[in-house]
Amino acid sequence: MELLEWESARQYLAPPTVLRDPERAARQSLRSQIARLEQELSEAFVTAYPMGVVGPVAVAGARREVRMLDLGELERARDDLVERLRAARAAIAERAEEHAANRLYLERMLLEPGKHRFARLSRSDIGEPGCGDWQVRPRLGLIGMLMGWWQVKLSSGCPLP
């Protein structure tokens, strides 16, 4: 029993080898975190770009020299990436919600065009690539307006250069 207690205590007394230079271990850990965050930020950028969300903004006045960063600098780099990733994800989520709301509105336009007279949505408003607008317009022009004949028209194709 005594031996077991000693073995149990020894695991707390003997420092693991990785802690011999704790600051170096911390720097390595931060570099791993930075690499992972950079990957996630890149993936967020690729998702955000076609949605029209502005990509990661570079920090003005950042140093342009390659050197080994100390612990504090690595922490700042990590925190900066965390903040950028949070902002990018928030912007993507916000834009995705806008697209969802616009898709719902388009369905309403299609179901009841008369209630959404002259409403207009573009493909980009619902997160689709390419050109084209859905617009609620009267059938047969003025007659349709007077008679309450409304329809949704989809303009097609991008304008020629």
């Binding site: 690499a35 950079e38 990957q39 890149s42 950042a62 020299e65 050197r67």
Partner: protein, 213 residues
């Protein structure tokens, strides 16, 4: 120029190697008396240029090699959105100018290697490189690149005698090779996440392009 390429592993100073495992340099000396046909290099660049499109450039940063260089930039104090890694920079310039272009056949060959592999290759005048070979280290107090005084602790490419380049930065102009340099030293820098094979391939592609292959 065919067959196995005799590249050398450059030195990495112990303090740099222990902090940045995976950072390495491979290099070789090359006679360039047989000048490559500039038209062939231009034609090759045109072919490569046609392969670069906007969507691909956007997604580039998520591919393993480019991702590795971006991560290294972040880990060493650069912002890859401000100072792009070389392959991303080349692709962005291609989108903006509409073509890949180089001032001479030598730099055209380096550009071909970069675009094909994602690994940057630089060329120095081999006569300026000490026999001990190239490597990566930190600068000390009062060291210079050409006329420019460097801050201590910067990562540089050097030999036993002099500093030739800032890591992922500018080369000493008086050591830089151009289209008329008879003997060049090519070097490629790899980081954690970039397999050795890619460095070898980048150097091999550059030598092949210089040989007109």
């Amino acid at each position: 120029m065919s067959g196995e390429l005799a590249t050398s592993e450059g030195f990495v100073s112990p303090e740099v190697g222990s902090e940045l495992p995976g950072l390495r340099l491979r290099w070789l000396r090359l006679e360039t008396e047989a000048r490559p046909d500039a038209r062939e290099v231009r034609a090759r660049l045109r072919q490569l240029s046609d392969r670069i499109h906007g969507a691909g450039v956007i997604a580039m940063r998520t591919r393993p090699i480019h991702r590795a260089y971006r991560a290294f930039f972040r880990q060493t104090g650069l912002d890859p959105d401000l100072q792009r890694p070389p392959a991303e920079q080349a692709a962005t310039v291609r989108l903006m100018r509409g073509e890949l272009s180089a001032p001479d056949a030598l730099h055209g060959a380096l550009l071909i290697a970069l675009v094909e592999t994602g690994v940057p290759v630089w060329a120095l005048d081999a006569d300026q490189v000490h026999d001990g070979g190239l490597g990566i280290r930190q600068t000390g107090e009062g060291e210079r690149l050409g006329d420019t005084l460097l801050r201590p602790g910067r990562l540089v490419v050097s030999d036993e005698v002099s500093i030739h380049a800032l890591l992922f930065g500018g080369l000493d102009r008086s050591h830089e090779a151009d289209g008329s340099t008879p003997r060049v030293a090519l070097f490629a820098v790899g980081v954690d996440g970039v397999p050795d094979m890619h460095l070898e391939e980048a150097l091999w592609l550059a030598t092949q392009a210089l040989a007109g292959g």
